[in-house]
Symmetry: C2
Subunit: 330 residues, 2 copies
Protein backbone atom coordinates (compact mmCIF):
# COMPACT_ATOMS: atom_id res chain seq x y z
CA UNK A 1 0.00 0.00 0.00
CA UNK A 2 1.39 3.40 -0.99
CA UNK A 3 0.54 6.59 0.82
CA UNK A 4 1.54 10.20 0.26
CA UNK A 5 2.75 12.32 3.19
CA UNK A 6 2.55 16.11 2.76
CA UNK A 7 3.86 18.85 5.03
CA UNK A 8 2.45 22.12 3.70
CA UNK A 9 4.06 25.25 5.13
CA UNK A 10 3.60 28.88 4.20
CA UNK A 11 6.76 28.89 2.05
CA UNK A 12 7.58 25.28 1.21
CA UNK A 13 5.77 21.99 0.78
CA UNK A 14 7.53 18.71 1.59
CA UNK A 15 6.27 15.42 0.23
CA UNK A 16 7.28 11.83 0.76
CA UNK A 17 6.11 8.29 0.13
CA UNK A 18 4.90 6.04 2.91
CA UNK A 19 5.06 2.26 2.73
CA UNK A 20 3.87 0.00 5.58
CA UNK A 21 3.41 3.07 7.73
CA UNK A 22 7.02 4.21 7.36
CA UNK A 23 8.37 7.18 5.42
CA UNK A 24 10.75 6.16 2.62
CA UNK A 25 13.70 8.42 3.47
CA UNK A 26 14.99 8.85 -0.09
CA UNK A 27 11.53 9.76 -1.37
CA UNK A 28 11.41 13.18 0.32
CA UNK A 29 11.17 16.21 -1.98
CA UNK A 30 10.79 19.89 -1.15
CA UNK A 31 8.95 22.39 -3.34
CA UNK A 32 8.70 26.17 -3.19
CA UNK A 33 5.03 27.06 -3.03
CA UNK A 34 5.68 30.20 -5.11
CA UNK A 35 6.46 27.94 -8.08
CA UNK A 36 2.96 26.40 -8.05
CA UNK A 37 -0.57 27.77 -8.43
CA UNK A 38 -2.04 25.46 -5.79
CA UNK A 39 -1.47 22.36 -3.66
CA UNK A 40 -2.85 20.02 -6.32
CA UNK A 41 -0.16 21.12 -8.79
CA UNK A 42 2.53 20.24 -6.23
CA UNK A 43 0.97 16.81 -5.66
CA UNK A 44 0.74 16.20 -9.41
CA UNK A 45 4.41 17.14 -9.87
CA UNK A 46 5.47 14.87 -7.02
CA UNK A 47 3.48 11.88 -8.25
CA UNK A 48 4.94 12.35 -11.75
CA UNK A 49 8.41 12.32 -10.19
CA UNK A 50 7.76 9.09 -8.33
CA UNK A 51 6.25 7.42 -11.38
CA UNK A 52 3.16 6.46 -9.39
CA UNK A 53 -0.22 7.05 -11.01
CA UNK A 54 -2.01 7.04 -7.66
CA UNK A 55 -1.68 6.39 -3.94
CA UNK A 56 -4.18 4.75 -1.58
CA UNK A 57 -4.01 7.31 1.22
CA UNK A 58 -2.93 10.93 1.58
CA UNK A 59 -2.08 12.61 4.88
CA UNK A 60 -1.63 16.38 4.84
CA UNK A 61 -0.07 18.26 7.75
CA UNK A 62 -0.53 22.01 7.71
CA UNK A 63 -0.36 25.08 9.94
CA UNK A 64 -4.07 25.64 9.96
CA UNK A 65 -7.32 24.50 11.53
CA UNK A 66 -8.30 21.48 9.45
CA UNK A 67 -11.60 19.64 9.26
CA UNK A 68 -12.27 16.29 7.61
CA UNK A 69 -13.26 18.21 4.46
CA UNK A 70 -10.11 20.26 4.14
CA UNK A 71 -8.38 23.43 5.19
CA UNK A 72 -7.29 26.87 4.09
CA UNK A 73 -3.66 27.77 4.76
CA UNK A 74 -3.05 30.49 7.33
CA UNK A 75 -0.17 32.19 5.50
CA UNK A 76 -1.10 31.63 1.83
CA UNK A 77 -4.38 31.72 -0.04
CA UNK A 78 -4.42 28.00 -0.79
CA UNK A 79 -7.51 26.02 -0.01
CA UNK A 80 -7.09 22.25 0.02
CA UNK A 81 -10.30 20.24 -0.27
CA UNK A 82 -10.78 16.58 0.49
CA UNK A 83 -12.58 15.83 -2.78
CA UNK A 84 -9.96 17.48 -4.97
CA UNK A 85 -7.09 15.74 -3.15
CA UNK A 86 -8.83 12.38 -3.67
CA UNK A 87 -9.30 13.17 -7.38
CA UNK A 88 -5.74 14.46 -7.90
CA UNK A 89 -4.05 11.54 -6.15
CA UNK A 90 -6.49 8.77 -7.11
CA UNK A 91 -6.73 8.09 -3.38
CA UNK A 92 -9.42 6.38 -1.33
CA UNK A 93 -8.72 8.30 1.83
CA UNK A 94 -7.26 11.62 2.94
CA UNK A 95 -6.52 12.91 6.42
CA UNK A 96 -5.83 16.51 7.40
CA UNK A 97 -3.85 17.10 10.57
CA UNK A 98 -2.41 20.17 12.21
CA UNK A 99 1.37 20.56 11.79
CA UNK A 100 1.93 20.11 15.54
CA UNK A 101 -0.31 17.07 15.66
CA UNK A 102 1.94 15.67 12.92
CA UNK A 103 4.97 16.26 15.13
CA UNK A 104 3.04 14.55 17.94
CA UNK A 105 2.39 11.50 15.74
CA UNK A 106 6.06 11.48 14.69
CA UNK A 107 7.00 10.73 18.32
CA UNK A 108 5.47 7.29 17.80
CA UNK A 109 8.49 6.72 15.55
CA UNK A 110 10.93 8.74 17.67
CA UNK A 111 13.81 6.34 17.02
CA UNK A 112 13.63 7.24 13.29
CA UNK A 113 13.97 11.00 13.94
CA UNK A 114 17.19 13.02 13.88
CA UNK A 115 17.64 14.23 17.46
CA UNK A 116 20.34 15.38 19.87
CA UNK A 117 19.99 14.73 23.58
CA UNK A 118 20.40 17.78 25.84
CA UNK A 119 20.35 15.71 29.04
CA UNK A 120 22.73 13.04 30.28
CA UNK A 121 23.13 10.60 27.42
CA UNK A 122 20.90 9.35 24.67
CA UNK A 123 18.21 7.88 26.90
CA UNK A 124 19.06 9.48 30.21
CA UNK A 125 17.20 12.02 32.28
CA UNK A 126 19.03 15.03 33.68
CA UNK A 127 20.79 13.15 36.43
CA UNK A 128 19.19 9.79 36.92
CA UNK A 129 19.40 8.03 33.59
CA UNK A 130 15.69 7.42 34.07
CA UNK A 131 14.57 9.27 30.97
CA UNK A 132 13.59 6.54 28.55
CA UNK A 133 10.50 5.01 29.94
CA UNK A 134 8.51 2.84 27.58
CA UNK A 135 4.80 3.13 28.08
CA UNK A 136 5.04 6.77 29.18
CA UNK A 137 4.06 9.83 27.13
CA UNK A 138 6.36 11.89 24.93
CA UNK A 139 6.07 15.61 24.27
CA UNK A 140 7.15 17.85 21.41
CA UNK A 141 7.15 21.63 21.63
CA UNK A 142 8.54 24.27 19.37
CA UNK A 143 9.16 27.98 19.01
CA UNK A 144 9.19 29.30 15.46
CA UNK A 145 6.70 31.64 13.80
CA UNK A 146 4.55 30.83 16.82
CA UNK A 147 4.72 28.35 19.68
CA UNK A 148 2.89 25.10 20.23
CA UNK A 149 3.18 21.60 21.64
CA UNK A 150 1.68 18.13 21.19
CA UNK A 151 1.77 15.13 23.49
CA UNK A 152 2.00 11.51 22.35
CA UNK A 153 0.46 9.07 24.83
CA UNK A 154 0.66 5.29 24.46
CA UNK A 155 -2.56 3.46 25.26
CA UNK A 156 -2.86 1.87 28.69
CA UNK A 157 -5.22 -0.70 27.31
CA UNK A 158 -3.40 -2.02 24.26
CA UNK A 159 -4.93 0.27 21.63
CA UNK A 160 -3.44 2.94 19.39
CA UNK A 161 -1.51 5.77 21.02
CA UNK A 162 -3.24 9.11 21.40
CA UNK A 163 -1.94 12.50 20.26
CA UNK A 164 -3.13 15.48 22.32
CA UNK A 165 -3.53 18.58 20.16
CA UNK A 166 -3.11 21.96 21.83
CA UNK A 167 -2.87 25.72 21.43
CA UNK A 168 -0.09 26.18 23.98
CA UNK A 169 1.25 29.35 22.37
CA UNK A 170 -1.81 31.20 23.60
CA UNK A 171 -1.44 30.17 27.24
CA UNK A 172 -0.55 33.00 29.62
CA UNK A 173 3.20 33.53 29.91
CA UNK A 174 4.26 32.95 33.52
CA UNK A 175 6.72 35.58 34.64
CA UNK A 176 8.16 36.14 38.11
CA UNK A 177 10.28 38.67 39.91
CA UNK A 178 11.07 42.30 39.17
CA UNK A 179 13.13 41.86 35.99
CA UNK A 180 10.51 39.69 34.39
CA UNK A 181 7.75 41.99 35.56
CA UNK A 182 9.40 44.74 33.54
CA UNK A 183 9.58 42.37 30.55
CA UNK A 184 5.92 41.52 31.04
CA UNK A 185 5.06 45.21 30.86
CA UNK A 186 7.06 45.54 27.63
CA UNK A 187 5.52 42.44 26.02
CA UNK A 188 1.97 43.37 26.91
CA UNK A 189 2.22 47.08 26.06
CA UNK A 190 1.10 46.51 22.50
CA UNK A 191 -1.31 43.62 22.93
CA UNK A 192 -2.77 43.97 26.42
CA UNK A 193 -1.61 40.56 27.59
CA UNK A 194 1.48 38.43 27.17
CA UNK A 195 0.92 34.94 25.83
CA UNK A 196 3.60 32.28 25.67
CA UNK A 197 4.28 32.93 22.01
CA UNK A 198 4.52 36.68 22.60
CA UNK A 199 7.95 35.75 23.99
CA UNK A 200 8.69 32.29 22.58
CA UNK A 201 8.71 32.89 18.82
CA UNK A 202 10.83 34.70 16.26
CA UNK A 203 8.99 37.95 16.93
CA UNK A 204 9.20 37.20 20.64
CA UNK A 205 12.99 37.02 20.49
CA UNK A 206 12.95 40.44 18.78
CA UNK A 207 10.65 41.82 21.50
CA UNK A 208 12.93 40.47 24.24
CA UNK A 209 15.95 41.95 22.41
CA UNK A 210 14.24 45.36 22.21
CA UNK A 211 13.54 45.19 25.94
CA UNK A 212 17.18 44.30 26.65
CA UNK A 213 18.37 47.21 24.49
CA UNK A 214 16.00 49.67 26.18
CA UNK A 215 17.25 48.64 29.62
CA UNK A 216 20.82 49.22 28.50
CA UNK A 217 19.92 52.54 26.86
CA UNK A 218 21.27 51.04 23.64
CA UNK A 219 19.91 51.30 20.14
CA UNK A 220 18.28 48.14 18.82
CA UNK A 221 20.27 47.20 15.70
CA UNK A 222 18.47 44.03 14.65
CA UNK A 223 14.87 43.42 13.78
CA UNK A 224 14.76 39.74 12.86
CA UNK A 225 14.95 36.78 15.20
CA UNK A 226 17.46 34.99 12.97
CA UNK A 227 19.90 37.94 13.17
CA UNK A 228 19.69 37.94 16.94
CA UNK A 229 20.01 34.18 17.40
CA UNK A 230 23.00 33.89 15.04
CA UNK A 231 24.88 36.71 16.82
CA UNK A 232 24.06 35.14 20.18
CA UNK A 233 25.38 31.76 19.03
CA UNK A 234 28.54 33.40 17.55
CA UNK A 235 28.88 35.42 20.77
CA UNK A 236 29.49 38.50 18.61
CA UNK A 237 26.94 40.80 20.29
CA UNK A 238 26.37 41.01 24.03
CA UNK A 239 22.81 42.37 23.78
CA UNK A 240 21.80 39.55 21.43
CA UNK A 241 23.40 37.15 23.89
CA UNK A 242 21.42 38.60 26.77
CA UNK A 243 18.19 38.35 24.78
CA UNK A 244 18.93 34.73 23.87
CA UNK A 245 19.62 33.91 27.51
CA UNK A 246 16.26 35.33 28.62
CA UNK A 247 14.57 33.46 25.76
CA UNK A 248 16.14 30.16 26.85
CA UNK A 249 15.23 30.89 30.47
CA UNK A 250 11.57 31.40 29.53
CA UNK A 251 11.62 28.39 27.18
CA UNK A 252 12.94 26.28 30.05
CA UNK A 253 10.20 27.46 32.38
CA UNK A 254 7.43 26.84 29.84
CA UNK A 255 8.93 23.46 28.91
CA UNK A 256 8.92 22.55 32.60
CA UNK A 257 5.32 23.67 33.02
CA UNK A 258 4.24 21.64 29.99
CA UNK A 259 6.19 18.64 31.30
CA UNK A 260 4.05 18.88 34.46
CA UNK A 261 0.92 19.05 32.31
CA UNK A 262 1.62 15.88 30.27
CA UNK A 263 4.26 13.99 32.34
CA UNK A 264 6.26 12.92 29.27
CA UNK A 265 8.56 10.48 31.08
CA UNK A 266 9.58 8.99 27.74
CA UNK A 267 11.10 12.19 26.40
CA UNK A 268 10.65 15.86 25.54
CA UNK A 269 11.55 17.00 22.02
CA UNK A 270 12.32 20.65 21.22
CA UNK A 271 11.46 21.69 17.70
CA UNK A 272 10.91 24.94 15.80
CA UNK A 273 13.08 27.41 13.90
CA UNK A 274 14.11 29.63 16.82
CA UNK A 275 14.79 26.68 19.12
CA UNK A 276 16.94 25.05 16.48
CA UNK A 277 18.83 28.28 15.76
CA UNK A 278 19.66 28.53 19.47
CA UNK A 279 20.55 24.81 19.63
CA UNK A 280 24.29 25.27 20.32
CA UNK A 281 23.48 27.58 23.26
CA UNK A 282 20.82 25.21 24.57
CA UNK A 283 23.53 22.56 24.67
CA UNK A 284 26.29 24.70 26.21
CA UNK A 285 24.49 27.15 28.50
CA UNK A 286 22.65 26.30 31.73
CA UNK A 287 19.80 28.82 31.30
CA UNK A 288 17.30 26.39 29.76
CA UNK A 289 17.86 23.38 32.02
CA UNK A 290 18.12 25.53 35.14
CA UNK A 291 14.72 27.10 34.47
CA UNK A 292 13.27 23.73 33.43
CA UNK A 293 14.04 22.13 36.78
CA UNK A 294 13.16 25.18 38.95
CA UNK A 295 9.85 23.76 40.19
CA UNK A 296 10.34 23.94 43.96
CA UNK A 297 9.82 20.57 45.63
CA UNK A 298 9.24 18.97 42.22
CA UNK A 299 12.86 19.64 41.21
CA UNK A 300 13.78 15.99 41.68
CA UNK A 301 10.89 14.86 39.50
CA UNK A 302 11.95 17.37 36.82
CA UNK A 303 15.39 15.75 36.66
CA UNK A 304 13.82 12.53 35.44
CA UNK A 305 12.83 13.94 32.07
CA UNK A 306 15.11 13.46 29.09
CA UNK A 307 15.17 16.41 26.68
CA UNK A 308 16.12 16.25 23.01
CA UNK A 309 16.60 18.74 20.22
CA UNK A 310 14.54 17.63 17.23
CA UNK A 311 16.45 18.71 14.14
CA UNK A 312 14.76 16.47 11.56
CA UNK A 313 13.32 18.45 8.64
CA UNK A 314 11.11 15.48 7.79
CA UNK A 315 9.54 15.19 11.28
CA UNK A 316 6.07 16.17 10.10
CA UNK A 317 6.32 13.68 7.21
CA UNK A 318 7.24 10.92 9.68
CA UNK A 319 4.18 12.00 11.65
CA UNK A 320 2.00 11.68 8.55
CA UNK A 321 3.44 8.19 8.04
CA UNK A 322 2.53 7.26 11.62
CA UNK A 323 -0.99 8.65 11.10
CA UNK A 324 -1.30 6.49 7.97
CA UNK A 325 -0.07 3.44 9.91
CA UNK A 326 -2.55 3.99 12.78
CA UNK A 327 -5.53 4.83 10.62
CA UNK A 328 -4.88 1.83 8.35
CA UNK A 329 -4.80 -0.49 11.37
CA UNK A 330 -8.01 0.96 12.86
CA UNK B 1 -18.48 -9.95 37.13
CA UNK B 2 -18.18 -7.99 40.37
CA UNK B 3 -15.54 -5.40 41.00
CA UNK B 4 -14.72 -3.23 43.99
CA UNK B 5 -14.12 0.50 43.54
CA UNK B 6 -12.18 2.27 46.31
CA UNK B 7 -11.47 5.96 46.78
CA UNK B 8 -8.95 6.25 49.61
CA UNK B 9 -8.49 9.77 50.99
CA UNK B 10 -6.52 10.98 53.97
CA UNK B 11 -9.62 11.09 56.19
CA UNK B 12 -12.26 8.88 54.56
CA UNK B 13 -12.44 5.86 52.32
CA UNK B 14 -15.35 5.40 49.91
CA UNK B 15 -16.19 2.03 48.45
CA UNK B 16 -18.70 0.84 45.90
CA UNK B 17 -19.55 -2.17 43.77
CA UNK B 18 -19.05 -2.21 40.03
CA UNK B 19 -21.06 -4.38 37.70
CA UNK B 20 -20.60 -4.36 33.91
CA UNK B 21 -18.25 -1.41 34.27
CA UNK B 22 -20.82 0.75 36.06
CA UNK B 23 -20.92 1.82 39.70
CA UNK B 24 -24.01 0.54 41.54
CA UNK B 25 -25.26 3.81 43.03
CA UNK B 26 -26.87 2.33 46.16
CA UNK B 27 -23.75 0.31 46.95
CA UNK B 28 -21.63 3.30 47.97
CA UNK B 29 -20.42 3.41 51.58
CA UNK B 30 -18.11 5.83 53.34
CA UNK B 31 -15.78 4.91 56.20
CA UNK B 32 -13.69 7.02 58.55
CA UNK B 33 -10.10 5.83 58.26
CA UNK B 34 -9.54 6.54 61.98
CA UNK B 35 -11.93 3.68 62.77
CA UNK B 36 -9.72 1.11 61.01
CA UNK B 37 -6.14 -0.09 61.46
CA UNK B 38 -5.48 -0.37 57.74
CA UNK B 39 -7.03 -0.43 54.26
CA UNK B 40 -7.57 -4.19 54.33
CA UNK B 41 -9.82 -3.89 57.39
CA UNK B 42 -12.00 -1.38 55.53
CA UNK B 43 -12.24 -3.70 52.52
CA UNK B 44 -13.11 -6.65 54.76
CA UNK B 45 -15.86 -4.62 56.49
CA UNK B 46 -17.28 -3.50 53.15
CA UNK B 47 -17.30 -6.99 51.64
CA UNK B 48 -19.04 -8.32 54.76
CA UNK B 49 -21.68 -5.61 54.38
CA UNK B 50 -22.30 -6.51 50.73
CA UNK B 51 -22.48 -10.23 51.50
CA UNK B 52 -19.92 -10.98 48.81
CA UNK B 53 -17.11 -13.39 49.66
CA UNK B 54 -14.90 -12.03 46.89
CA UNK B 55 -14.73 -9.77 43.84
CA UNK B 56 -12.91 -10.34 40.56
CA UNK B 57 -11.24 -6.96 40.24
CA UNK B 58 -10.31 -4.13 42.61
CA UNK B 59 -9.53 -0.58 41.53
CA UNK B 60 -8.07 1.75 44.14
CA UNK B 61 -7.86 5.51 43.62
CA UNK B 62 -5.64 7.39 46.03
CA UNK B 63 -3.83 10.70 46.48
CA UNK B 64 -0.40 9.22 46.06
CA UNK B 65 2.10 8.02 43.51
CA UNK B 66 1.03 4.45 42.82
CA UNK B 67 2.89 1.64 41.06
CA UNK B 68 1.47 -1.66 39.88
CA UNK B 69 2.60 -3.16 43.21
CA UNK B 70 0.87 -0.65 45.46
CA UNK B 71 1.16 2.68 47.14
CA UNK B 72 1.70 4.44 50.44
CA UNK B 73 -0.78 7.17 51.31
CA UNK B 74 0.55 10.71 51.41
CA UNK B 75 -1.45 11.85 54.44
CA UNK B 76 -1.68 8.65 56.51
CA UNK B 77 0.76 5.84 57.26
CA UNK B 78 -1.19 3.23 55.31
CA UNK B 79 0.64 1.10 52.79
CA UNK B 80 -1.56 -0.80 50.36
CA UNK B 81 0.12 -3.69 48.59
CA UNK B 82 -1.10 -5.51 45.52
CA UNK B 83 -0.63 -8.97 46.99
CA UNK B 84 -2.51 -8.21 50.19
CA UNK B 85 -5.41 -6.59 48.34
CA UNK B 86 -5.68 -9.67 46.12
CA UNK B 87 -5.67 -11.92 49.21
CA UNK B 88 -8.16 -9.80 51.18
CA UNK B 89 -10.66 -9.47 48.34
CA UNK B 90 -10.13 -12.85 46.67
CA UNK B 91 -9.51 -10.87 43.51
CA UNK B 92 -7.64 -11.83 40.35
CA UNK B 93 -6.64 -8.28 39.49
CA UNK B 94 -6.02 -4.96 41.20
CA UNK B 95 -5.30 -1.56 39.71
CA UNK B 96 -3.92 1.47 41.52
CA UNK B 97 -4.64 4.86 40.04
CA UNK B 98 -4.03 8.40 41.19
CA UNK B 99 -7.12 10.21 42.52
CA UNK B 100 -7.05 12.72 39.66
CA UNK B 101 -6.60 9.97 37.08
CA UNK B 102 -9.75 8.47 38.59
CA UNK B 103 -11.58 11.75 38.01
CA UNK B 104 -10.21 11.69 34.46
CA UNK B 105 -11.58 8.19 33.91
CA UNK B 106 -14.93 9.28 35.39
CA UNK B 107 -15.34 11.71 32.48
CA UNK B 108 -15.83 8.66 30.24
CA UNK B 109 -19.13 8.33 32.13
CA UNK B 110 -19.79 12.08 32.43
CA UNK B 111 -23.54 11.69 31.92
CA UNK B 112 -23.72 9.65 35.15
CA UNK B 113 -22.05 12.38 37.24
CA UNK B 114 -23.80 15.05 39.29
CA UNK B 115 -22.86 18.33 37.60
CA UNK B 116 -24.07 21.92 37.17
CA UNK B 117 -23.35 23.82 33.99
CA UNK B 118 -21.73 27.25 34.47
CA UNK B 119 -22.03 28.15 30.80
CA UNK B 120 -25.12 28.63 28.63
CA UNK B 121 -27.20 25.53 29.19
CA UNK B 122 -26.46 21.90 29.82
CA UNK B 123 -24.49 21.28 26.65
CA UNK B 124 -23.74 24.80 25.53
CA UNK B 125 -20.50 26.72 25.36
CA UNK B 126 -20.28 30.24 26.71
CA UNK B 127 -22.13 31.86 23.84
CA UNK B 128 -22.27 29.48 20.95
CA UNK B 129 -23.99 26.38 22.23
CA UNK B 130 -21.02 24.54 20.73
CA UNK B 131 -19.86 22.96 23.97
CA UNK B 132 -20.90 19.35 23.69
CA UNK B 133 -18.72 17.89 21.05
CA UNK B 134 -18.56 14.12 20.90
CA UNK B 135 -15.18 12.78 19.95
CA UNK B 136 -13.39 15.70 21.62
CA UNK B 137 -11.47 15.60 24.91
CA UNK B 138 -12.88 16.44 28.35
CA UNK B 139 -10.95 17.98 31.22
CA UNK B 140 -11.36 17.88 34.98
CA UNK B 141 -9.47 20.17 37.33
CA UNK B 142 -9.83 20.86 40.99
CA UNK B 143 -8.61 23.04 43.82
CA UNK B 144 -8.73 21.46 47.26
CA UNK B 145 -5.80 20.47 49.49
CA UNK B 146 -3.76 20.96 46.33
CA UNK B 147 -4.52 21.51 42.68
CA UNK B 148 -4.45 19.13 39.75
CA UNK B 149 -6.12 18.23 36.48
CA UNK B 150 -6.62 15.22 34.20
CA UNK B 151 -7.71 15.09 30.58
CA UNK B 152 -9.89 12.37 29.05
CA UNK B 153 -9.27 11.89 25.34
CA UNK B 154 -11.37 9.59 23.15
CA UNK B 155 -9.37 7.51 20.69
CA UNK B 156 -9.18 8.77 17.11
CA UNK B 157 -8.71 5.21 15.91
CA UNK B 158 -11.55 3.36 17.60
CA UNK B 159 -9.69 2.14 20.70
CA UNK B 160 -10.09 2.89 24.39
CA UNK B 161 -10.02 6.53 25.48
CA UNK B 162 -6.84 7.83 27.06
CA UNK B 163 -6.51 9.64 30.40
CA UNK B 164 -3.61 12.10 30.64
CA UNK B 165 -2.20 12.25 34.16
CA UNK B 166 -0.58 15.48 35.29
CA UNK B 167 0.98 17.47 38.11
CA UNK B 168 -0.62 20.79 37.15
CA UNK B 169 -0.56 22.17 40.68
CA UNK B 170 3.21 22.55 40.39
CA UNK B 171 3.15 24.54 37.17
CA UNK B 172 4.26 28.16 37.50
CA UNK B 173 1.42 30.49 38.43
CA UNK B 174 0.98 33.06 35.65
CA UNK B 175 0.40 36.52 37.10
CA UNK B 176 0.18 39.82 35.25
CA UNK B 177 -0.02 43.50 36.07
CA UNK B 178 0.96 45.45 39.17
CA UNK B 179 -1.65 44.11 41.58
CA UNK B 180 -0.85 40.55 40.78
CA UNK B 181 2.86 41.25 40.88
CA UNK B 182 2.38 42.30 44.49
CA UNK B 183 0.46 39.05 45.12
CA UNK B 184 3.24 37.10 43.44
CA UNK B 185 5.75 38.65 45.83
CA UNK B 186 3.55 37.70 48.77
CA UNK B 187 3.01 34.12 47.60
CA UNK B 188 6.65 33.48 46.82
CA UNK B 189 8.09 35.14 49.94
CA UNK B 190 8.04 31.90 51.88
CA UNK B 191 8.76 29.38 49.16
CA UNK B 192 10.86 31.19 46.56
CA UNK B 193 8.44 30.60 43.71
CA UNK B 194 4.70 30.61 43.28
CA UNK B 195 3.21 27.46 41.82
CA UNK B 196 -0.42 27.18 40.72
CA UNK B 197 -1.42 25.45 43.95
CA UNK B 198 0.33 28.09 46.04
CA UNK B 199 -2.75 30.16 45.14
CA UNK B 200 -5.36 27.62 44.00
CA UNK B 201 -5.86 25.48 47.12
CA UNK B 202 -7.30 25.86 50.59
CA UNK B 203 -4.00 27.24 51.88
CA UNK B 204 -3.79 29.37 48.76
CA UNK B 205 -7.12 31.02 49.54
CA UNK B 206 -5.77 31.83 53.01
CA UNK B 207 -2.58 33.27 51.49
CA UNK B 208 -4.61 35.44 49.10
CA UNK B 209 -6.82 36.54 52.02
CA UNK B 210 -3.75 37.51 54.07
CA UNK B 211 -2.47 39.53 51.12
CA UNK B 212 -5.85 41.29 50.78
CA UNK B 213 -5.89 42.10 54.51
CA UNK B 214 -2.32 43.44 54.42
CA UNK B 215 -3.18 45.74 51.52
CA UNK B 216 -6.15 47.09 53.45
CA UNK B 217 -4.10 47.42 56.62
CA UNK B 218 -6.64 45.12 58.24
CA UNK B 219 -6.10 42.29 60.65
CA UNK B 220 -6.53 38.82 59.19
CA UNK B 221 -9.31 37.20 61.23
CA UNK B 222 -9.56 33.81 59.52
CA UNK B 223 -6.98 31.13 59.00
CA UNK B 224 -8.88 28.38 57.20
CA UNK B 225 -9.99 28.35 53.58
CA UNK B 226 -13.46 27.08 54.53
CA UNK B 227 -14.05 30.09 56.83
CA UNK B 228 -13.07 32.48 54.08
CA UNK B 229 -15.10 30.80 51.33
CA UNK B 230 -18.26 30.54 53.44
CA UNK B 231 -18.10 34.24 54.41
CA UNK B 232 -17.49 35.17 50.78
CA UNK B 233 -20.51 33.13 49.67
CA UNK B 234 -22.69 34.62 52.46
CA UNK B 235 -21.32 38.07 51.55
CA UNK B 236 -20.78 38.68 55.26
CA UNK B 237 -17.15 39.85 55.04
CA UNK B 238 -15.78 42.17 52.36
CA UNK B 239 -12.16 41.05 52.72
CA UNK B 240 -13.16 37.40 52.34
CA UNK B 241 -15.18 38.44 49.29
CA UNK B 242 -12.19 40.19 47.77
CA UNK B 243 -9.98 37.17 48.39
CA UNK B 244 -12.58 34.88 46.80
CA UNK B 245 -12.80 37.16 43.78
CA UNK B 246 -9.03 37.05 43.22
CA UNK B 247 -9.12 33.26 43.70
CA UNK B 248 -11.83 32.89 41.05
CA UNK B 249 -9.96 35.25 38.74
CA UNK B 250 -6.80 33.13 39.00
CA UNK B 251 -8.80 29.89 38.73
CA UNK B 252 -10.36 31.25 35.53
CA UNK B 253 -6.99 32.10 34.06
CA UNK B 254 -5.46 28.72 34.92
CA UNK B 255 -8.58 26.91 33.66
CA UNK B 256 -8.25 28.84 30.39
CA UNK B 257 -4.57 27.99 30.11
CA UNK B 258 -5.27 24.29 30.71
CA UNK B 259 -8.12 24.42 28.18
CA UNK B 260 -5.52 25.60 25.64
CA UNK B 261 -3.22 22.74 26.65
CA UNK B 262 -5.79 19.94 26.16
CA UNK B 263 -8.54 21.53 23.96
CA UNK B 264 -11.40 19.85 25.88
CA UNK B 265 -14.17 20.78 23.44
CA UNK B 266 -16.44 18.23 25.06
CA UNK B 267 -16.45 19.92 28.44
CA UNK B 268 -14.46 21.20 31.41
CA UNK B 269 -15.38 19.96 34.89
CA UNK B 270 -14.42 21.87 38.03
CA UNK B 271 -13.91 19.70 41.09
CA UNK B 272 -12.25 20.04 44.50
CA UNK B 273 -13.26 21.26 47.94
CA UNK B 274 -12.45 24.95 47.53
CA UNK B 275 -13.99 25.13 44.05
CA UNK B 276 -17.16 23.49 45.31
CA UNK B 277 -17.34 25.77 48.35
CA UNK B 278 -17.15 28.77 46.02
CA UNK B 279 -19.69 27.21 43.62
CA UNK B 280 -22.48 29.77 44.20
CA UNK B 281 -20.06 32.63 43.44
CA UNK B 282 -18.69 30.84 40.38
CA UNK B 283 -22.28 30.73 39.13
CA UNK B 284 -23.25 34.32 40.00
CA UNK B 285 -20.05 36.35 39.60
CA UNK B 286 -18.25 37.11 36.31
CA UNK B 287 -14.69 36.86 37.71
CA UNK B 288 -14.08 33.25 36.71
CA UNK B 289 -15.54 33.30 33.21
CA UNK B 290 -14.06 36.71 32.43
CA UNK B 291 -10.56 35.50 33.25
CA UNK B 292 -11.20 32.19 31.46
CA UNK B 293 -11.93 33.88 28.15
CA UNK B 294 -9.26 36.62 28.43
CA UNK B 295 -6.89 35.02 25.93
CA UNK B 296 -6.46 37.84 23.43
CA UNK B 297 -7.31 36.79 19.89
CA UNK B 298 -8.28 33.34 21.17
CA UNK B 299 -11.25 34.82 23.08
CA UNK B 300 -13.71 33.50 20.52
CA UNK B 301 -12.26 30.02 20.75
CA UNK B 302 -12.50 30.17 24.55
CA UNK B 303 -16.23 30.83 24.31
CA UNK B 304 -16.72 27.43 22.72
CA UNK B 305 -15.88 25.51 25.90
CA UNK B 306 -18.66 24.38 28.18
CA UNK B 307 -17.78 24.47 31.88
CA UNK B 308 -19.42 22.41 34.62
CA UNK B 309 -19.20 22.22 38.38
CA UNK B 310 -18.61 18.60 39.37
CA UNK B 311 -20.35 18.08 42.71
CA UNK B 312 -20.53 14.29 42.75
CA UNK B 313 -18.94 12.76 45.87
CA UNK B 314 -18.69 9.44 44.05
CA UNK B 315 -16.79 10.82 41.03
CA UNK B 316 -13.60 8.91 41.80
CA UNK B 317 -15.63 5.68 42.28
CA UNK B 318 -17.24 6.20 38.87
CA UNK B 319 -13.70 6.65 37.55
CA UNK B 320 -12.66 3.34 39.12
CA UNK B 321 -15.69 1.72 37.46
CA UNK B 322 -14.64 3.11 34.08
CA UNK B 323 -11.09 1.83 34.65
CA UNK B 324 -12.53 -1.63 35.42
CA UNK B 325 -14.65 -1.44 32.24
CA UNK B 326 -11.70 -0.45 30.03
CA UNK B 327 -9.21 -2.88 31.54
CA UNK B 328 -11.70 -5.76 31.32
CA UNK B 329 -12.27 -5.02 27.62
CA UNK B 330 -8.55 -4.78 26.84
Amino acid sequence: MNALACDVGGTNTRMGLVRDGLLLADSVAIYRNDDFPDFYAVATAYLARTGLAAVDTVCIALASVATAEGATLTNRDWTISRSQVLATCGAARVGFINDFEALGFSLGQAARLETTCLTGGLTGGLTKGAGANEGAPRLVMGAGTGFNAAAWCPSRFGGAPHVVAAECGHMTLALAGEDEFSLQQALSRINGRASVERALSGNGLVAIYNWVCARHGAEARFSHGAEISSRAVERSDALCGEAAEMFMHLLGRVAGDLALAYLPYDGIYLSGGVTRALGPLLESEPAFLRAFTAKGRMAELMEQFSIHLLSDDASALHGCAEWVRLSSAA
